[in-house]
């Protein structure tokens, strides 16, 4: 079929090549409805959320019950000279609001300004006796009675306050692209992001822990500058990327709710993420060496740095403290990545790609001996910091052979080598080879099958250089350990007619850490997903999907440096997900849609020799959305939407763990979330 069509099209294509001069003087384009007007389309209304739930509103901002304002808008302007302006406002009435405006003269320049807020509601079930949540000083209420354990903190229950753990990002993005001369594009983009809120963070005095609320007051500024050239055989781009992160809080302190274990042990201090910078120069280029051969290269040279002033070793003035070896880290990491790819069509039926990549993280941070204090409580043996560096080199080659219009075979191999400093394995190298077959009957179906085998080995495993206390010498870290990996991928797409399609995707990975006796022993991930689309009738379409995923692993560990594994653990996660929906367009004046999603997950954690096991970790999600649009008169659209979602979860790490449940952890008492939430919204959209 494809051959026939190509045959039929041949004369047309030849004509283009041979006779590019086309007389278009009689092509007035009088039926062309070029847009040269302006429009403004606000959408205003009201919505209502039935219940409070941080989990439901985790990212949407619909975390509190009550009414909210539906406020969206679109505006457009176009003129015949190519000037354009687009404005978009979305969800202005809730915490995930967006506003953007962009415009310019097409082909010459484009400017944009975008503002986005993104909430992250982490928990609404936390409670804590600490005052000052979200600040850099957590204190205890007057009348607080320290205890040796949480159960003896007699003022605990009367001191607990609810805390909503959340963060919010506010992102302003301004930039533009400029095309002053043909073939050249210059770009500039500035992003300023503020992120604030509070989140949970553990703090400890020896083994007396508290789940604290740490402040989040971050600012990140990012800049992209670029110049790009594209003409003929060459495309090239040189760019600068800068990212500057600042944290308003270098640390926070908290009052010890326990009876101090030593003199002065009534206050702790926790460092927070230090400000840092990253600057990078990137050069990318693609060059067509020959009609069917392309060379592409990327080089990125960067530097990460961090030099915030050090905190003192401790806020405990009763402890003997040595002077710091330096006042700040002067941390520097030089990064260099380089990649080259050659893509060529050696024959009409045979393509080859060859790639070489190099990634170097060269940590230049100075080393020093630190006479550290453990948990603001006691002195400890001095330690030297370990600035980790690594270099990764990858080479790969693959080819694709077209045996017939419906059959293509692929094969390839790669070699991936890491060199690491200061770690248990100096070098790992992984070789991989893969094969793939694509079968297709273009009008009806396509089938693809891929198999990959890889093996990673490495240089001799060294005793942990960071070892106090020492690792079990049998431990093999899973990112360094010898590993066999088998991967399968299968994909089927069927389109028996224009009205129906069906797809199936399955993939699995089987890992065997074949020389590990302590650490991760094996891992399996396997998933399958199917979907369908059905044009039931001219006005009715439907879709569906179904998936299953399994992730499991086995590991071993040994207590107290035993010579052989004494216990085995396993992790077994399963997730099922399904969805269906339909859309019915009754007329230009009425349409209706429905989407339903169901998902459940089960996690089994097991210790082989244990007499007491773990209950399953479970989640269940049901989500249904229904909407209807009605056009009572020209330019006015009324929209009614309804969203129901229920969620159930069980998590043994949280459930029934109240602030005083664990003797030596004053917890936040967060519970795994459950909710049933209904959201209904009615709005009117009018096009001016």
């Amino acid at each position: 079929m494809a051959l026939l069509l190509a045959t039929a099209l041949l004369p047309a294509l030849r004509a283009e090549a041979e006779d590019p001069e086309v007389d278009t003087s009689k092509w007035p384009c009088k039926f062309c409805e070029f847009e040269a007007s302006s429009s403004f389309t606000p959408n205003l209304g009201v919505g209502y959320v039935s219940d409070d739930s941080a989990k439901f509103g985790e990212y949407t901002g619909l975390d509190e019950s009550g009414a909210y304002v539906v406020a969206d808008a679109d505006a457009r302007y176009r003129n015949p000279e190519g000037f354009w302006l687009d404005l978009a406002a979305l969800d202005l009435g809730i915490d995930s609001r967006y506003f953007g405006v962009e415009g310019g003269k097409q082909g010459r320049y484009a400017l944009h300004l975008r503002y986005k807020e993104l909430p992250h509601n982490l928990s609404d079930s936390a409670t804590s006796p600490f005052l000052g949540a979200g600040t850099s000083s957590l204190t205890l209420p007057s009348g607080w009675v320290p205890g040796a354990t949480t159960s003896t903190m007699s003022a605990l229950n009367s001191s607990l306050q609810s805390i909503d753990l959340h963060t919010e990002r506010r992102l302003l993005d301004v930039g533009g692209a400029f095309m002053p001369v043909s073939h050249w594009t210059f770009g500039v983009n500035l992003r300023h992001e503020e992120r604030d809120g509070m989140r949970a963070m553990g703090g400890t005095f020896v083994f007396n822990d508290s789940q604290l609320v740490s402040p989040v007051n971050y600012t990140t500024d990012q800049i992209d500058l670029s110049a790009a050239y594209a003409a003929g055989r060459l495309q090239a781009r040189v760019a600068y990327y800068g990212s500057i992160f600042k944290n308003d809080d270098a640390a926070f302190t908290w009052a010890n709710p326990y009876i101090p274990l030593g003199a002065g042990g009534n206050l702790g201090q926790m460092s927070l993420a230090p400000g840092n910078q990253f600057h990078q120069l990137v050069l990318s280029a693609g060059y067509r060496l020959a009609p069917h051969t392309q060379m592409t290269a990327d080089v990125a040279l960067g530097q990460m740095s961090q030099d915030d002033a050090f905190l003192p070793y401790t806020v405990n003035g009763s402890l003997p403290v040595q002077p710091l070896p330096r006042n700040s880290l002067d941390g520097r990491v030089e990064t260099l990545t380089g990649k080259v790819k050659l893509t060529t069509q050696l024959a009409d039926e045979f393509r080859v790609n060859a790639t070489l990549s190099y990634d170097d993280r060269n940590n230049q941070t100075p080393q020093a001996v630190y006479d550290w204090i453990t948990t603001d409580t006691g002195t400890a043996a001095p330690r030297t910091n370990l600035p980790y560096s690594f270099t990764r080199s990858v080479a790969s080659i693959d080819g694709a052979l077209t045996l017939s219009p419906g059959l293509r075979l692929y094969a390839g191999c790669s070699y991936d080598e890491y060199q690491r400093d200061l770690q248990a394995v100096e070098r790992t190298n992984e070789g991989a080879c893969w094969g793939k077959a694509n079968l297709s009957a273009k009008d009806l179906a396509s089938f693809s099958f891929t198999y990959t085998y890889s093996q990673r080995t490495g240089s001799a495993y060294q005793p942990d250089p960071d070892g106090t206390p020492a690792q079990n010498p049998l431990m093999r870290l899973y990112n360094l350990a010898d590993r066999d990996r088998n991967e399968l991928k299968l994909r089927v797409d069927v389109t028996p007619g224009e009205r129906f399609n069906f797809g199936f995707d399955m993939r699995g990975t089987w890992d065997d850490y074949f020389t590990s006796t302590v650490g991760l022993l094996d891992g399996t991930s396997w998933s399958a997903a199917a979907d369908c689309g059905w044009q039931v009738a001219e006005k009715l379409s439907a879709s569906c999907y179904l998936s299953h995923e399994l992730v499991k692993s086995h590991q071993a560990n040994a207590e107290l440096l035993a010579p052989s594994p004494l216990w085995f653990g396993s992790n077994h996660d399963e997730t099922d997900s399904a969805g269906a929906g339909f859309k019915y367009v009754a007329s230009d004046r009425f349409d209706l849609g429905f989407d339903y999603t169901w998902s459940r997950s089960t996690g089994e954690v097991a210790i082989k020799s244990a007499t007491v096991g773990f209950p399953d970790l479970t989640t269940r999600l049901n989500s249904a959305r229904l909407y209807a649009n009605f056009v009572p008169r020209k330019k006015l659209t009324l929209r009614l939407s309804y969203w129901y979602e229920s969620y159930r979860s069980d998590d043994w790490a949280l459930d029934d763990v109240l602030p005083a449940t664990i003797d030596n952890v004053l917890s936040l008492g967060q519970q795994s979330p459950d909710y049933d939430v209904n959201v209904i919204a009615l709005s009117g959209r009018y096009e001016f």
């Binding site: 494809a2 990634d359 007491v612 043994w652």
Partner: protein, 334 residues
């Protein structure tokens, strides 16, 4: 650093490819500045008929006589898009209008007896009979720019995904360019990823607050998984710059690869972890003392509630797992 093996492999591949390329350089070179339509030259058998094609007599006006909103292939929405801007000399409507991309349509526009099909014309999309590479040559005639430097040989470009599989050129709003609708376009092929975003701990793709292209450069990238930045961690740091460091006390696997511990599309465990503590931590930590002790269900609230198991588990104490800059943060506890 030892680079011998990968370099040798690459050079061998390049030599093989280069040698064979030289042998093929007699193939006519496409005109560097040719109009986009002229770039698309499907190679077809020599015995194909040679009947000269013609352009339509009236250009788009010819096409729009049939392709109005009531036709099987309505196209009028293209006039709401940037392709239909005659003032921009780069656009199809500043050139040969519809036939800039679809090629000469003279035969296609000819009337045929009832019951017979129109002569074919170059169409786009997964159901088109025109090979994807030839479709894409038409698009790349104009769009072979900085965003597509790495398109050739990329997972999408090298697997013959036509541009029109994802882009709807005749639609006023191309779904793949909108945050809320882009994921559904990607899920058409990436079915497993759709389910991953239904999990309890995810990046907010399901909530239309993030899109696939927030992290992935779908038109080609030299980074694994088509990631947008030169390395995986640098991609993560664009939103999580507080984890970039460098820190005084680094956690080695963190600095190397975020996915050593996190599943970026979603997980059933908190904070997108591949598994939960303490087993996650005990996959690597077997130091003498508490790290290597088996934590069983006996440590749950009904038994002897354990600090090593409940609430934050290991992070009840070791809360600075991404690294610490505190001079006393050796054990990532400060």
């Amino acid at each position: 650093m030892e680079l011998k093996r990968p370099v040798i492999l690459f050079l061998a591949a390049a030599a093989l490819a280069g040698g064979l390329v030289v042998g093929r350089t007699q193939t006519p070179e496409p005109a560097a500045e040719a109009p986009p339509a002229a770039e698309a030259k499907p190679e077809v058998p020599a015995e194909a008929p040679r009947e000269a094609p013609t352009f339509t007599k009236k250009g788009a006006d010819t096409c729009l006589k049939c392709h109005d909103e009531s036709s099987k292939f309505p196209v009028l929405a293209i006039f709401k898009t940037k392709h239909a801007q005659p003032a921009d000399p780069r656009t199809p409507f500043a050139s040969l209008q519809c036939e800039t991309c679809h090629g000469p349509g003279g035969h296609h526009a000819e009337e045929v007896p009832e019951g017979q099909k129109q002569a074919p014309i170059r169409t786009f999309g997964t159901k088109s009979q025109v090979p994807a590479e030839q479709q894409n040559q038409v698009c790349l005639g104009c769009h072979q720019d900085q965003a597509r430097i790495s398109w050739k040989g990329s997972p999408h470009g090298g697997n013959d995904v036509p541009c029109a599989a994802c882009h709807k050129v005749h639609a006023e709003h191309d779904a793949v360019l909108t945050v809320a609708t882009q994921p559904d376009v990607c899920y058409a092929c990436h079915k497993v990823q759709r389910a991953e975003f239904d999990k309890p701990s995810v990046h907010p793709v399901r909530f239309a607050q993030m899109e696939c292209s927030s992290c992935h450069e779908v038109h080609g990238s030299m980074t694994e998984h088509l990631l947008a930045k030169p390395t995986l961690n640098e991609t993560c740091y664009t939103c999580h710059a507080e984890k970039r460091g460098p820190f005084l006390w680094e956690h080695a696997p963190v600095a190397e690869n975020c996915t050593n511990c996190h599943a970026p599309h979603g997980s059933i465990h908190p904070t997108l972890l591949v598994k939960r503590a303490p087993l996650l931590c005990q996959s690597c930590h077997s130091q003498a003392g508490h790290p290597s002790v088996a934590r069983t269900g006996a440590g749950l609230p009904g038994g002897n509630p354990s600090a090593f198991l409940l609430a934050g588990s290991c992070t009840n104490c070791h809360s600075q797992v991404h690294g610490s800059n505190d001079p006393s943060g050796v054990k990532l506890m400060r």
